[in-house]
């Protein structure tokens, strides 16, 4: 279990974290973390399904490959590796 997941499980609320929604689930993420990192911290392994049905997740980590794309606050095709988590942010891996 990652640090953030641990903190969440124990109901801790430190100032270094914010609350985000990952596929409708309430989660804590370290301030300054990317959305891709927040998903990985909370155990999201595949974050996109490819054209032929394979699970995929981040590859390049720098906005090139679009493998980590998710919908953020309803906007599709956002690169999770480049977007920093924000309080209340809604992330969906199903409509990327």
């Amino acid at each position: 279990m990652g640090d953030a997941a641990h903190a969440h499980a124990h109901g801790e609320h430190d100032a270094g974290h914010c609350t985000i929604w990952l596929d409708g689930e309430r989660r804590r993420a370290p301030i300054g973390a990317s959305v891709a990192a927040a998903l990985a911290l909370h155990g999201w392994r595949g974050t996109r399904t490819s054209v032929s049905g394979e699970p995929r997740s981040a590859l390049c980590g720098m906005g090139i490959c679009f493998e980590c794309r998710v919908a953020i606050d309803g906007v599709p095709l956002r690169r999770a590796c480049l977007v920093t988590v924000r309080e209340g942010m809604e992330v969906s891996t199903h409509h990327a």
Partner: protein
């Protein structure tokens, strides 16, 4: 549309962009730096949730003091070279930026080569994993294999060890003999030798394999093991992740869109003062050929000074930059990719991850253009940024031209952008 005007526009806030911005701002120019990452530093110096590397600190401090303005989270989506205008997208939407001159310091991307299983979650770029880890991706306590080629592998492996990962191996495709000769040639560069020694010390106890490359990544929905071939001998490792990159390729998409010519190696062609063939557009650092941080800093200072009209300072940097370029070329020879890597993909291996095009569909077609038309290879949202360099290595030929926009935009934004371009064309033709 929001508009920002300045004397010098720098694209990319990595070492080259920071150096260019400092050089021009310190000479009194109003400088604006656009970067799509959340913070300054580029992939190599970016801090994120961790502290920036020590080498970066003086430069980041100089950058802050220079008066140059940085816009992070701001991705360039289109440019008009004749009007020195770039359009960018940030969290609030589109933005028009105009300048007297433009420095392209767009850095590099990793070369990814397809092998069976490379599309599994948990198989990441070497620089890619480091970039993600800097933004909070969990690596502490994880068993991670590092593979591919180039000096980046050791740097990434050492960084991972420092941050609590168990590095299972570092597999370098180049033969030990060739690298040993390269290391010997560094005898007159004590700083580089010291850097190498420090990396080796940090990686003591980590198996370092040469003439070694991944044959297959295994796992169902995530990688759980990897098979390597080392000197032709198979070797298996259980891993939580595989960080794999086969070197770097210059990021030239924006330069090409602006009409900058490329040289035979596919890098942006520049003169001794970093000028491209397009008037008032300069390029610095990795886009002009992979050369590393020192090269990028020198080229950045050179471009910044030159764009600010300081020809004398530019001349000094030019000589030092030529030396740094020679080192870059020696590095390239030492880590040249071996023929056998072309045999890595099997028939079913996906080469285009956006469109899931398999190697047997793409292999026989002649040009990149035909491959794209017949198989959809390169037609996805990344527009070939991943598959085209791989296909170039696997079967030669040049990539098909990239189409606008540089990054996906909504149709609404595309129309807004087109309207603003039209407005600007009218204004400037009057």
């Amino acid at each position: 549309m929001r508009e920002l005007a300045c004397d010098l526009l720098v694209v990319g806030a990595g070492p080259a962009g920071i150096a260019a911005a400092c050089a021009a701002a310190e000479r009194g120019k109003k400088v604006l730096v656009l970067d799509e990452n959340p913070g300054a530093g580029g992939q190599i110096w970016r801090a994120g949730t961790h502290a920036p590397p020590r080498a970066a600190e003086p430069w980041l401090a100089r950058f802050r003091a220079s008066g140059a303005e940085l816009r992070s989270g701001c991705a360039v989506v289109e440019g008009d070279a004749a009007r020195q205008t770039l359009w960018a997208q940030d969290a609030e939407g589109l933005l028009r930026t105009r300048a007297e001159s433009i420095v392209l310091a767009t850095g590099a991307r990793e070369l990814f080569l397809p092998f069976p299983g490379w599309t599994l979650p948990g198989v990441l770029g070497a620089g890619g994993l480091q970039a993600l880890a800097k933004s909070g991706w969990p690596v502490r306590g994880k068993k991670i294999g590092v593979a591919g080629s180039g000096p980046l592998l050791l740097a990434v492996a050492a960084w991972l060890v420092e941050h609590g990962a168990h590095v299972a191996f570092v597999a370098e495709q180049a033969p030990l003999g060739r690298l040993a000769r390269f290391a010997a040639s560094l005898a007159f560069q004590p700083r580089k030798l010291a850097q190498l020694a420090a990396l080796r010390w940090k990686l003591r106890g980590v198996p370092q394999l040469f003439s070694s490359w991944p044959v297959r990544a295994n796992g169902r929905a995530h990688i759980d093991s990897v098979e390597l071939a080392t000197d032709g001998e198979p070797q298996g490792f259980l891993v939580d992740a595989l960080a794999v990159g086969f070197g770097l390729v210059p990021e030239t998409a924006l330069a090409e869109q602006l009409g900058c010519a490329l040289d035979a190696s596919g890098a942006v062609a520049v003169d001794a003062e970093q000028r491209t063939n397009v008037e008032r557009i300069y390029a610095a650092g990795e886009p002009t050929g992979i050369g590393g941080v020192e090269n990028a800093l020198l080229q950045g200072e050179l471009a910044g000074a030159s764009a600010a009209g300081d020809a004398r300072a530019a001349h000094t940097f030019a000589r030092r930059a030529a030396r740094a370029r020679r080192f870059g070329r020696a590095l390239e020879r030492a880590f040249a990719l071996r023929e056998e890597l072309r045999e890595m993909p099997d028939d079913d291996t996906i080469v285009c991850r956006c469109e899931d095009v398999r190697w047997d569909a793409a292999r026989e077609l002649d040009s990149a253009r035909e491959t794209k038309l017949q198989t959809r290879c390169g037609m996805g949202p990344c527009q070939g940024r991943v598959c085209q360099p791989a296909l170039h290595f696997l079967k030669g030929g040049r990539a098909d031209r990239r189409r606008p926009p540089l990054l996906p935009l909504t149709l609404g934004e595309l129309a807004e952008l087109a309207a603003d371009r039209t407005t600007l064309e009218h204004e400037t033709s009057r």
